[in-house]
Amino acid sequence: MLDYLVQGLTIALSFQNLLFMLFGTVLGLVFAAIPGLTFSTALILLIPLTFGLEAVPAISVLLGVYAGGMSGGSISAILLGIPGTPSAAATVIDGYAMAKKGEAGKALGMAVYASVFGGIFSLLVLMLVAPQLASVAIKFGPPEIFALVVFGLSTIVSLSGTDIVKGLLAGLFGLLLCTVGLDPVMGLQRYTFGQAGLMVGIGIMPVMIGMFALPEIIDTFLRAKKNQGLKQEEPKRDKVKAAFPSFKEMGKTFFLLIKSAAIGTGLGAIPGTGGPVASFLAYDQAKRTNPLSGTGTIEGVGAPESANNGVTGGALIPLLTLGIPGDSATAIMLGAFLIHGLAPGPLLFQNYGDLVYAIFISILIIYIMVLVIQFYGIRLFVKVLDFPKVNLMVVILAVSVIGAFAINLNFSDVIIMFFSGVLGYLMKRFDFPVTPLILALVLGYSIEDNFRKSLVFSGGSLDIFIKKPVSLVFLTLAMIILVAPFLRPWLEKRFRLKKKALS
């Protein structure tokens, strides 16, 4: 391990890597600070730029966007009362209240401190847990991998929001898209319609670029058209300066931030939960610690920020060790890993241990960068809030075409990107969640491949999935996750009736 650590340190501290980390972190902070832009879009914007890079700088620049993006959402949450990212929604409650009381600087300082605290906490957990988990996962055969992927897919239920039927339909459609191309066992063509471009299947990256970037671009254009000629009065925010929390405040919030970071890391490690859930659960902890939360307290700002940054390290645990992405950002990163010839999973730790540790060290450096940039560059980010989004979207649109084309130098990927964009827009419009489709597309090929290989080994008997304890556990968990939302209303109703009868 020490060897890997030293080698990782050498790779991570190279000038090129530091430069790209800095670039990614600034970009993530900027995109997260502007409401309406997501850091998923920033990740997509950067994918084609990473084609010419070595694996570690390429992953580091994306990790910079991810960590910077998680942290930067608090800027507009505090200054404008609009969360820059969904994960910063809970920060609005106390952050904006503090800003209205004239304590914006204090709130921004607390948000930066808590973000870095949560991020580094989750990194330590990642460094401790991931290698152990990888050493267990390396013994998995096709039945275990199949069960694990089914478990990963079952999180579609939690990614579906309030409309589970639509989420499941989106996920199933994603699985269906995976069947296009060559059959994984027999090697014959399925649903290719005679198109050579479809023989390799439907690429993950063109679909992700289309589904995440195009709907956002079109909506920004339409919003600009609607607001044309309207001059909105912007409040003067030029004199805002972040104020770092005092030692007394740090001591007062220390255990709350640990608890929140643990919530974030734990939930981040479960695919499908993510930042928004973690930050609201942590905010609930802040309310218990300080009953005044909601009126503008540092606890109400620190807890959600520590939790949503805790998610970053947590989400990397299943991604790096099992190859299962938990949200859209980690799904994009999985695509980037694959582009650079690195397949996340247990073998990553065995074959590329130095690179894995370089990634760990890079995350630590990124969080130090977040601290310095967000703290001292707050005036720049305040100005960024007023940047015209349409101009940025024009750039993203042009880069999206390049991003889709350049992966395989195949024009059919551009067409796939376009139609994915239209589909993504319609899905968004009719309340179909997009992330289940992406998750299914990422995991679908593996699920069919491992299911069929397992049956070849067992001679067609499904018992193989029950006889293996690991596979049985994962399949049972998946079943519980899938059935729970359908049973919940019924159980709640029963509980309420029972309580009523007792009272």
């Binding site: 909506d219 254009f221 919003r223 058209k225 390049i402």
Partner: protein, 167 residues
């Protein structure tokens, strides 16, 4: 007719067509192996079930938040989440599809005439459609962005861009 019902019917038609394509796939020759038809058939079956469920699901309407006595602390957190959530602006779907159509024409031009001409055309028309003046603002901005992106990727990063099949 409600949205959910229309979508469910479209999905069922699509499932029927895809199921027909699935029946055209060959059978497996390996013992114990379910073959190339099995996985798509399972997915289509599940999709059909959920499409029928969707058909009978009511369209989402804005419902008032009702607080009950039974709410616990987690519910408080959820309530806070709902309070902070801002309703997203909804634009006419036809306007969006018009922009998509122009972008598609741009992509077709990229295929035939190359990245620069296709993108400048697509971006200019899209910007003009959202109210930018065609000349000089929309044309110059589109050209500047396209050329900057072209130089960055093609010249600096050496990533080949579509040159156009006619050239």
């Amino acid at each position: 007719m409600k949205h959910n019902r229309i979508i469910a019917v479209i999905l069922l038609i699509f499932i029927g067509w895809w199921a027909y394509l699935t029946t055209q796939l060959p059978e497996t020759t390996m013992p114990g192996e379910p073959g190339p038809k099995f996985f798509p058939a399972v997915i289509l079956g599940l999709m059909a079930v959920f499409s029928v469920l969707l058909f009978f699901t009511k369209d989402k309407k804005d419902t008032a938040m009702v607080k009950t006595d039974e709410t616990d602390d987690t519910d408080d957190a959820e309530d806070a989440e709902k309070e902070v959530e801002k309703k997203e602006e909804v634009f006419p779907i036809f306007s969006a599809l018009k922009l998509f159509a122009v972008f598609f024409v741009g992509i077709v031009l990229v295929y035939f005439l190359g990245f620069n001409i296709g993108m400048i055309f697509g971006l200019t028309v899209m910007l003009w459609m959202i109210g930018w003046r065609l000349f000089p603002r929309a044309i110059l901005f589109s050209a500047a962005v396209t050329l900057a992106v072209y130089f960055l990727f093609d010249w600096l990063l050496k990533i080949p861009l579509p040159k156009g099949s006619l050239f």
